[in-house]
């Protein structure tokens, strides 16, 4: 009796540890995310508030994107008795050149002025205070490699090169356009010269001694005039903090989604643990019932246990989560540009309470069903059956089969519907819904699936040896338990595989698009500025003259003058016959591209439909100088912005001032890559702002972005997989405990320790493989469905290598999950096990 009690205690400890870990991990993720985002938000706010609050009054143009504050306002503000000091901030394009002499980025670097009175201070070095000095934004410095003391070149408004000594680095923090464009800061006078900006982007002022802020604001508002907005530094800070906070919120929402997946998986694991424990203690409970315990007492005892475990584990999870949040912030601070990696961790009561509540509630709810089941068992029936043998002779439920055979086809039908859904969003919602239905179907059919899967591999496992044969028999004995354990893993496997499929499909689709749209080796464009100046004609001429190039196509475009997205775009491609140059054309609906000569055009199919155009019809091209009549020679479908594609001669006549916008360069056959590169860069040598993209490099950048996203998603979902593996280990450990007698029997009959261990390894690997393979199946199907709904013209691609990796990981997970249970099973002494019960 003592021995059983002790065994019970040991069992108690074991089940506490593993169940608690599953809950704690889920809670850790939730609390960690909350702590991380609270800290991030606080640090964003700190930073913008700190810089904005230096000013009492800030004057901004009402139209923040295009407007400016007139220069003379500054003098008037300075003259106000309420104002002590004031400074204007000049901002405009100031293309910074990298060490190779090429302009940085596809948008010109922002040039700003800093002076004695400035919201920003140097994070390293000093602010510039002489005409030949400049400070760089930290992002620009890391993009170019410039350090304090280096000489950097910036292009002036006339395109001339100006050299500056870098005196310092400025951390502009979350300022959205700086993190994208980078910035170079000059003294006020130099800033005006370098950017050519007319007005001020902002006027900052400090109130005179003793003047209340609001009074200063009112006084400034009186002179600032219309088209400006006057607010206190604090108000500006709050506005900026809100914007930055919104970034943190988006990040937090994304992370919480992953945290929820972890909690869901933890819930499945907890449910299974309690279900097993209740089944194992059925006799004990029946005995309780027989000696007079009422149903509610049995129910209460199970729920109370869940409550205690849930609370304790959640507390542990909250603690770990605080650590995780702090660590995440410390690591992520740099990447997220908070500029304050040393900031104190913000711990709000919400993060703690939500973590505790989520963990405890999840545990309670997961335990409710098993508790109810425990309650409903008639005491005598429970006394008669043993947990070990329970379920063996039960037939797989007809009900399950029926439900699954409704749910799974229903899911497939919804996926089918989603293909005709009007918008990508609607399609995605349908696919997500179908995914849920399918998941419920898999949950319902789980025991059948496990049975079928085990039956399928049984012959093989039997042939392999006694350990694997016994494992196959064991896996069959409680399909429900096995199914629940595997489904926890299925969740993670489905999501990871689904994302992998989407990722790989996007990759192949993008590659295909790149091939289609840029069948070139290099592409030359201007930097995006408000005017989008053309590429000088000389560039295309030089490129054509170079022996390394085979084809140089220049694209020019113009609109019919309609503002906004409704404009009709006219384009031409110069440098090769249209049918070769127009690589974006997928299909000729009518006519022939080769027939487009002076006097005729090709039109896109949807434009032709909208205008009722067919081959041979007249079409009107609206130019600034009036309308010109041309004839439709071909109707095509193309992945391009233009609606009308004209012959170069017609285009030149219609829009005489237009220069080249995009130049595509195809290298000559056999031209060395390095030589071609040199030739391209030589052609743009005198035009540093021109952007040269090699298609290979674009492809690589694209693949890098997708690859990073994939790793991030896998890492986020990884925790759910870890929790699921805990669940499988737990299930196995509990099974080992209830099979102590059997293990002893097997050992007495001469099964070696290693064989006993191997049996459990096989069992764990089998469970993990079933879970993973079902997940992979679902993931491939729904990854395809989701990608197909979201993207037009998707090229479906299954990442075979990655999936093989997942299968390998599942085997590894099984090995891991079996370590402790199998050690315990093999270590138990035969005589002690025979003596118990």
């Amino acid at each position: 009796m003592l021995r059983t009690t002790l065994a019970g205690l040991r069992l108690h400890k074991g089940r506490l540890v593993t169940t608690a870990l599953a809950i704690a991990l889920g809670v850790m993720f939730v609390t960690g995310t909350l702590v991380f985002s609270d800290t991030l938000r606080a640090s964003f706010a700190d930073q913008v508030m700190g810089s904005a609050e230096k000013m009492d009054v800030v004057v901004l143009p009402e139209d923040e994107r295009r407007g400016t504050v007139p220069r003379d306002v500054l003098a008037e503000v300075r003259d106000l008795p309420e104002i002590d000091r004031a400074a204007g901030v000049t901002a405009g394009d100031a293309p910074l050149l990298d060490k190779d002499g090429r302009a940085v980025g596809s948008v010109p670097t922002l040039g700003v002025s800093v002076g004695d009175l400035s919201r920003y201070s140097a994070a390293e070095g000093e602010l510039p205070d002489a005409p030949g000095e400049a400070a760089l934004a930290t992002v620009s410095a890391s993009a170019t490699g410039y350090k304090v003391g280096d000489t950097a070149t910036v292009l002036g408004p006339d395109g001339g090169k100006h050299e500056f000594t870098v005196t310092g680095l400025i951390d502009f923090g979350t300022a959205a356009d700086v993190s994208f464009r980078g910035a170079v800061a000059f003294t006020p006078q130099t800033a005006v010269e370098m950017t050519g900006a007319e007005g001020f982007a902002e006027i900052d002022a400090v109130a005179a001694e003793g003047v209340p802020r609001q009074q200063a604001v009112d006084a400034v508002a009186a002179v600032a005039g219309s088209g400006t907005e006057v607010l206190t530094g604090r108000e500006l800070g709050e506005r900026l903090a809100d914007q930055a906070g919104a970034q943190a919120d988006v990040l937090a929402a994304g992370l919480l989604l992953f945290a929820l997946v972890s909690v869901l998986v933890a819930a499945i694991v907890i449910h299974n643990t309690f279900a097993i424990l209740v089944a194992q203690r059925q006799r004990e409970m029946a005995l309780l019932r027989c000696v007079g315990a009422v149903r509610r007492q049995v129910f209460t005892s199970v729920v109370a246990e869940a409550l205690v475990v849930g609370l304790a584990a959640s507390a542990l999870g909250v603690l770990a989560g605080i650590g995780l949040g702090a660590a995440g912030f410390a690591l992520g601070a740099d990447a997220l540009n908070t500029g304050a990696s040393g900031a104190a961790v913000v711990l709000q009561p919400g993060a703690v309470l939500i973590g505790l509540a989520a963990g405890t509630a999840t545990t309670l709810f997961s335990a409710l069903l098993p508790a109810r089941r425990a309650m409903s068992v008639p005491p005598l029936a429970a006394l008669r059956t043993s947990a070990v043998a329970a379920g063996l002779d039960r037939r797989p439920g007809l009900l399950r089969a029926a439900a699954a055979s409704v749910l799974l086809p229903a899911s497939a039908a919804v996926v089918f519907l989603s293909r005709d859904a009007g918008s990508p969003q609607a399609g995605l919602y349908l696919v997500a819904g179908a995914g849920m239905v399918a998941f419920v179907g898999v949950v319902v059919a789980g025991p059948l699936l496990v049975r079928a899967a085990v039956a399928a591999v049984s012959p093989l496992m039997r042939a392999l040896g006694v350990s694997s044969a016994l494992a196959a028999d064991n896996a069959r004995r409680s399909p429900r338990r096995a199914a629940t354990a595997t489904i926890a893993l299925t969740v993670g496997a489905t999501l990871i595989t689904g994302y992998a499929v989407i990722n790989s499909s996007m990759m192949s689709t993008m590659n295909d698009l790149l091939d289609e749209q840029f069948p070139a080796d290099y592409q030359i464009t201007g930097q995006f500025t408000d005017e989008n100046p053309a590429i000088p004609r000389q560039v295309a001429r030089d490129l054509r003259a170079a022996p390394e190039t085979a084809q140089v196509v220049a694209q020019r475009s113009a609109t019919d003058g309609t503002p906004g997205p409704d404009a009709t775009w006219y384009s031409t491609l110069d440098g090769a016959p249209l049918e070769e140059a127009a690589s974006a054309v997928r299909q000729e609906r009518a006519g022939d591209l080769a027939d487009v000569r002076p006097g005729s055009v090709a039109v896109q199919a949807d434009y032709a439909n909208a205008e009722g155009l067919g081959v041979g019809d007249p079409v009107t091209v609206k130019t600034p100088d009036g309308e010109r009549g041309l004839e439709v020679a071909a109707v095509v479908e193309a992945a391009a912005v233009w609606s009308v594609l004209m012959a170069p001669e017609d285009f030149a006549a219609a829009f005489p001032g237009k220069g080249d916008e995009i130049i595509s360069v195809v290298g000559a056959e056999g031209a060395e890559a390095a030589k071609l590169r040199d030739a391209v860069y030589a052609a743009v040598e005198d035009h540093p702002t021109l952007q040269v993209d090699s298609v290979a490099q674009m492809r690589k950048q694209f693949e890098d972005v997708l690859g990073t996203a994939f790793l991030a998603v896998v890492a986020m979902l990884g925790l759910a997989v870890v929790i699921a593996v805990f669940g499988i280990a737990n299930t196995l450990a509990l099974s080992v405990l209830e099979r102590t007698r059997e293990s002893a029997l097997l050992r007495a009959m001469g099964l070696k320790r290693a064989q006993l261990r191997l049996m459990l390894v096989w069992e764990a690997v089998l469970l993990c493989l079933i879970g993973a393979l079902v997940g992979i199946g679902l993931g491939v199907s729904f990854g395809w469905a989701a990608a197909d709904a979201a993207f037009e013209d998707l090229i479906f691609s299954v990442p075979i290598a990655q999936i093989a990796g997942f299968v390998g990981a599942a085997v590894a997970a099984g090995l891991l999950a079996s370590v402790l249970p199998s050690r315990r099973a093999a270590r138990t002494s035969i005589t002690a096990a025979l003596a118990s019960e």
């Binding site: 043998a389 063996l392 006694v466 004995r477 097997l746 009959m749 099964l751």
Partner: protein, 257 residues
């Protein structure tokens, strides 16, 4: 197997053929120092080939312990146990496992069968563990004698207690082990089922020359044996040849007084 072995069995061991199992000065102490329990206190005993021996004694007298030590399931504190020519007290766990696998059969009081295997699979399990091919003729004969013919495909949960024990007996005998150990094989059975199992054990000793060592509390069960040895406080105190239920009961009463 051989008729002579079967006939030799009732005789005092050591006279004719060498004993199958021999224990000398067995001592088994559980725990240490102050709380030590001497479960076996210098037991020397031999079991002849083809003999059916019962071990009896009051509860806690060391019967199960003796059996476990004889079978290599447990280590001894001192003394030796031989199985045939092999001294098993010197063997390490791995060798003991192989020894049990290849040379010993077991029948326990309960939980004898693996619940997920059918009766037939349970019977064939030791062979599968040992990667041994079983002799189909022997299998058929044993199954027939045990009377399980139509029950072979059932799971243990669909068998009565007596049927389950008979499956266990068939399993222990199929591999033709040098010795079969049975720890209260009829402890959970009613007298009729118990009689079937015991009769079968006796027949296998007589007809197949199977050495059987059985632990029991029940004088009626012991009366099926050729010889009964009595344990008290870890010592061998008495023995009866050709026992009947009455003689066994007498001795037991003497023992406990």
């Amino acid at each position: 197997m051989s008729q002579s072995a079967a006939q030799a069995a009732p005789e005092q061991s050591g006279t004719g053929t060498p004993p199958v199992v021999a224990a000398r000065d067995l001592v088994k102490v559980y725990g240490r120092a102050d709380s030590a329990v001497r479960a076996l206190d210098g037991v020397s005993v031999e079991f002849a080939r083809g003999a059916f021996t019962a071990i009896m004694g009051p509860s806690g007298s060391g019967k199960s312990t003796l059996m476990h030590c004889l079978a290599g399931l447990d280590t001894v504190t001192s003394g030796t146990v031989h199985l045939g020519r092999t001294e098993i007290t010197g063997l390490r766990d791995k060798q003991l496992t192989l020894l049990r696998r290849d040379r010993i059969g077991f029948i326990f009081q309960s939980f004898n069968l693996l619940p997920m295997l059918t009766a037939e699979q349970n019977i064939l399990l030791p062979g599968r563990i040992a990667k041994r091919r079983h002799d189909p003729a022997r299998f058929r004969r044993i199954v027939e004698v045990v009377g399980l013919g139509d029950r072979l495909g059932h799971l243990p949960s669909a068998l009565s207690g007596g049927q389950q024990q008979r499956v266990a007996v068939a399993r222990a005998l199929l591999g033709d082990p040098e010795v079969v150990y049975a720890d209260e094989p009829t402890g959970n059975l009613d007298s009729r089922s118990g009689a079937e199992v015991l009769g079968f054990l006796r027949d296998s000793a007589r007809e197949l020359g199977q050495t059987v060592i059985m632990v029991t509390h029940d004088p009626v069960a012991a009366s099926y044996a050729d010889r009964v040895v009595f344990l008290r406080d870890g010592r061998l105190v008495d023995e009866v040849h050709g026992p009947t239920a009455e003689t066994v009961l007498d001795r037991l009463v003497n023992l406990e007084s």
